[in-house]
Subunit: 385 residues, 2 copies
């Protein structure tokens, strides 16, 4: 396998972008990544998108975007793994370069979620769960994650306030990210008094509906040395794993086995341990998700995710800063774009370009991007060359 | 890049499979491919599917299918390129093995198209065209291909009867394929007197709406030699290219540039020329498509596709048999499965397992799988080791 570097990043301001179509949203981020990288062409591209079919009536998305970007006839592939579609696109781009098939690859993620009603968006998102055995019975994602939260509270004594601390921390981080959709700082009191969605989860426990895109340029490491003038960031680990798509099929509702397994593979490939990681972007689609994820990644003992958050371990300046970008909670969650945006944040941090939210001496970063209630997970580890 | 062999194939009887859900349809083909290959495990899987979101309200498809197949926690990725999703899955599986990431990979394609109304299916398929610039103006795929047919007739004198000959030939081939959806033999008279869909294309010029799946097992060539007892088939060329998604953006409506470009790449990688190919499966979604495709692949001079078909060049026993499986026209066209089923047919032929439709002394075969009106194309070349 060839070594693969990330030499360009791009992301637009996320939010309710009613004045832009999906193709415009994507192209903004893609052009910024191309410009940032210094490349004069790309050999192929990958697009992570969960459901352009249900959100904007458009499939065949990768060809449409290659066309609009003006890069036909290069290969362009859309990949989907629900909310982990972006992370999957990163892995496919990585394999394309690692295999020797392509030298320079654009990896983008995009979702345009506000062109449908809120009901329409909730329905489209629900297609990440098992339609026949979960959704047709009436459950959607807030309900699934609420059950995970209840189980975690029951089994480990995790408190309502600890859940809230995840949101408070991520909005604090997001307040320093000019591209975040909801950069407002919030308090524990704000969270626990916000509108109930699915007990115990309230609206401020939930990531929002967002339009947005993110893109990165991958390049063989040898070639990257001749092209890029910025610090080179190498992808040293890639892990991908699946779990039962339906929550009810799992032995333990609080355990994210796909995340555990993907992390094991990525750690092994990178020859790293949790204590070697300087910062991590994780999939905090709901506050409980971040708690379960940091346990599954090995940063805290099982059951201690809530307490660790309360103690400030995961805050900027803490032992392992989690979601310095603001995470899905504050930055926004255009589902197909999220996994790519996580990589954008890690590259910014490892390059030392993260401004007031910069993690000091960050050398090794990780991303964890998850589909559905944890039915799929992508983990990547990156290091400054 | 490591060398990659195909060691297992599976496909079910295609048709209107109302008694089976998408997961059942897929799993039948996948289990058959696993059994055929002799492997005792798989390392990862890829699923080509155009729009399970619009057809059956289900995204996150690759995790669902890995779960139902009982192979979690292995990586499982869905890829989409409209009707070329199956071919794209083959390429992604190829890259996975070629890169060294995985040794044994299941590549499947599936579509369940009959759980929606005919209008619903037509709409879902239309999302392969440019929604904002084509579909919202009222056009769907029969209309797009009808314009290509009119242009070809005008420019090259292609006749109504020559279009019909494509359908007649493919139904003749399909009559020898027990898995085909419409194995009935038909005549030129049947075609030219069938119901008009979009002038000049009539219902018997169009591929049908189909439920079905196909699967193959890819394996590193070195490992394959220890596992498989059947003739080993090697993937020696893989080409992937894009073109404008909208038909109106092209200089020449009769030219399939993505197919030309993908074929160039595949020929170069395989070190083969058109005259080295013993048989080919092409994307005959409409009769005119096959005519344009055999020109773009270099089997006949530009404009001579209709005449060559009329002269029997592409029929079993002719110079270059095209669509011995029956093609999309007779075998059926569950859009995400088609590209994988094309590979299944080539492997059958190269193994000498094609029964009464066997091409004698077939050593090198090709597949061409196309999305939309030609906005994306995948070409693969396979050879007996």
């Amino acid at each position: 396998m060839r070594e693969v570097a990330i030499i360009g990043i791009g992301m637009n301001k996320w939010g309710e972008l009613w004045e832009k179509s999906l193709r415009d949203v994507f192209t903004e981020a893609a052009l910024e990544a191309i410009k940032d990288s210094g490349v004069d062409h790309i050999d192929s591209m990958y697009v992570g998108c969960m459901s352009s079919g249900l959100f904007v009536d458009q499939e065949h998305l990768a060809s449409l975007l290659a066309d609009y970007l003006g890069v036909t006839p290069i290969p362009s592939a859309r990949v989907e793994s629900a909310c982990a579609s972006g992370g999957l696109a990163v892995r496919m781009g990585f394999l394309d370069v690692a295999s020797g098939m392509s030298d320079i690859v654009l990896v983008g993620g995009v979702e345009k979620m506000t062109d449908v009603s809120v009901d329409g968006a909730t329905f489209a998102l629900s297609t990440a769960a098992d339609q026949e055995y979960e959704v047709y019975q009436g459950i959607t994602f807030p309900g699934l994650y609420a059950m995970m939260a209840r189980a975690h509270m029951h089994k480990y004594g995790t408190t309502r306030e600890q859940l809230a601390q995840v949101a408070v921390k991520n909005h604090y981080h997001g307040s320093m990210n000019p591209l975040a959709q909801f950069p407002q700082r919030i308090t524990v009191d704000n969270v626990v008094k916000s509108v109930m969605v699915a007990d115990p989860l309230r609206i401020l426990d939930c990531s929002p509906i967002t339009d947005g895109a993110a893109a990165v340029i991958l390049c063989s490491l040898d070639l990257a040395k001749n092209i890029s003038k910025k610090p080179l960031i190498k992808i040293i680990g890639s892990g991908h794993a699946t779990d039962t798509i339906a929550l009810h099929s799992r032995n333990d509702l609080t355990e994210l086995r796909a995340t555990q397994r993907a992390a094991e593979k990525a750690y092994k490939m990178a020859n790293k341990k949790p204590e070697d990681i300087d910062l991590v972007e994780v999939h905090d689609c709901f506050t409980i998700a971040e708690i379960c994820v940091i346990e599954a990644l090995g940063f805290v003992e099982k059951g201690r995710g809530g307490k660790a958050t309360e103690d400030g371990m995961t805050k900027l300046g803490g032992k392992i800063p989690v979601n310095t970008s603001g995470g899905l909670k504050s930055k926004g969650h255009p589902v197909g774009a999220t996994g790519v945006a996580q990589v954008v944040e890690i590259v910014k941090q490892l390059r030392g370009e993260a401004g007031e939210r910069q993690v000091k001496n960050a050398k090794v970063g990780m991303t964890q991007n998850m589909g559905g209630s944890g039915g799929s997970t992508l983990v990547h580890i990156m290091e400054v060359v």
